[in-house]
């Protein structure tokens, strides 16, 4: 991972940013897509114009794509497969009492 400010520059010269939108209070920010912008402030403004023009959100995060550390497809087997046979991690073996809503 480079900390060079030019890291992640596209060939047109503007780096790529990932956009996260929170649809309403109480929900989490969800990844909505990406865009190009020369700096963080303009990334935020571009995100507003591209991803919230139909009232999709009340809050926005932008993160420089080059600052995200992602899991690699090569590691998928060792990262994710071991969870596959551990059904006891799901809360499916409890009796749900009657009259308990929203569980």
């Amino acid at each position: 991972m480079s900390t060079d400010p030019a890291a992640g520059m596209s060939e047109r010269g503007w780096p790529l940013w990932e956009v996260f939108v929170r649809a309403k209070r109480g929900l989490s920010h969800v990844h909505a897509g990406s865009l190009h912008a020369p700096d963080a402030q303009l990334a935020l403004q571009n995100a507003r114009d591209l991803y919230t023009r139909r009232q999709e959100g009340v809050s926005l995060w932008v993160v420089r794509a080059s600052d995200i550390t992602a899991s690699s497809p090569d590691e998928r087997d060792s990262f994710f497969d071991p969870a596959a046979d551990k059904v006891y991690r799901h809360p499916t073996f409890y009796e749900v009492p009657e009259d308990v809503e929203y569980l």
């Binding site: 190009h36 912008a37 114009d49």
Partner: protein, 262 residues
């Protein structure tokens, strides 16, 4: 009060409508110019940003035209004003009809126009005409964002590379002769201000200039000296050469297919 044809203190309905047409025509014509940027901006993200600004302005124009049609007693709808009037009936200033230049010039023009609109709508939100006050209260939020976007770019261009700085400085010189018209009082705006419907354009100049001065300081740009000439006549329907071509493009479809719907 919303009695058709009469605002509260008895301003003549036609005068009130003429005042609104000045505001609406500024918005519509500038929206047409900004729309030309779609597909021509530095990046597709900026195409969207300028397209969004243009749509905000068209929304303002539509509501203002509709109210003008109630006030002047003709019952004309938004399309009648936008598509079926001739050049001499448009009351927009020359600033908004000028052809598109480079991106720096557009951001400087937008900074002036949006800051003017923001100060204007802030005052019109207290208009004695409840409909206009409502239109302004919505538009003031839109204008605030337009100011932010234009100022963000002017700072980056001015304080950017040698070339972007030079172009932004040239843009300030270019725009200077056109901005005075926004702040010139005429008998219609004076009557509108006296009645409580409108606000006096000349009173907006000092606050607008102060806000733009602050942006230019941050952008390391020099405010231009007083221009040697000033555009005039737009509010009387006397326009520059570019206006006829703009209207031809804007109105062509509506005039070729009268009453068409889709």
């Amino acid at each position: 009060m919303n009695t058709p044809g009469r605002s509260r203190q008895g301003l003549d309905g036609e005068l009130a409508a003429a005042y609104l047409l000045g505001l609406a025509d500024d918005a519509l014509v500038y929206a047409q110019r900004l729309g030309e940027w779609v597909s021509r901006s530095p990046q597709v993200e900026e195409d969207m940003a300028l397209g969004n600004v243009a749509l905000d302005l068209i929304g303002q124009a539509r509501r203002l035209y509709t109210r003008a049609g109630e006030l002047d007693g003709t019952g004309r709808c938004e399309d009648d004003y936008a598509m079926l009037r001739d050049e001499r009936e448009f009351r927009n200033v020359h600033l908004v009809e000028q052809p598109r230049g480079d991106f720096g010039r557009e951001m400087v023009r937008m900074l002036w126009f949006a800051t003017y609109q923001h100060e204007l709508y802030t005052r019109l939100a207290a208009s004695t005409d409840q409909t206009l006050a409502g239109i302004a209260a919505k538009a003031v939020k839109e204008a605030a964002y337009h100011v932010t976007h234009a100022a963000t770019w002017v700072v980056r261009l001015g304080d950017g590379t040698t070339e972007s700085h030079e172009r932004a400085q040239l843009a300030l010189w270019w725009v200077a002769p056109y901005v005075g018209e926004l702040f010139t009082d005429d008998e219609i705006s004076i009557a509108a201000a006296d009645s409580g419907l409108g606000t006096l354009p000349s009173a907006l100049l000092a606050p607008v200039r102060a806000r733009i001065g602050a942006v230019l300081g941050e952008a390391t740009l020099e405010p231009p000296a007083a221009p040697t000439w000033s555009s005039s006549g737009g509010r009387r329907g006397v326009h520059s050469e570019a206006m006829g071509y703009l209207l031809a493009e804007l109105q062509h479809v509506a005039r070729s297919h009268p009453g068409a719907t889709w």
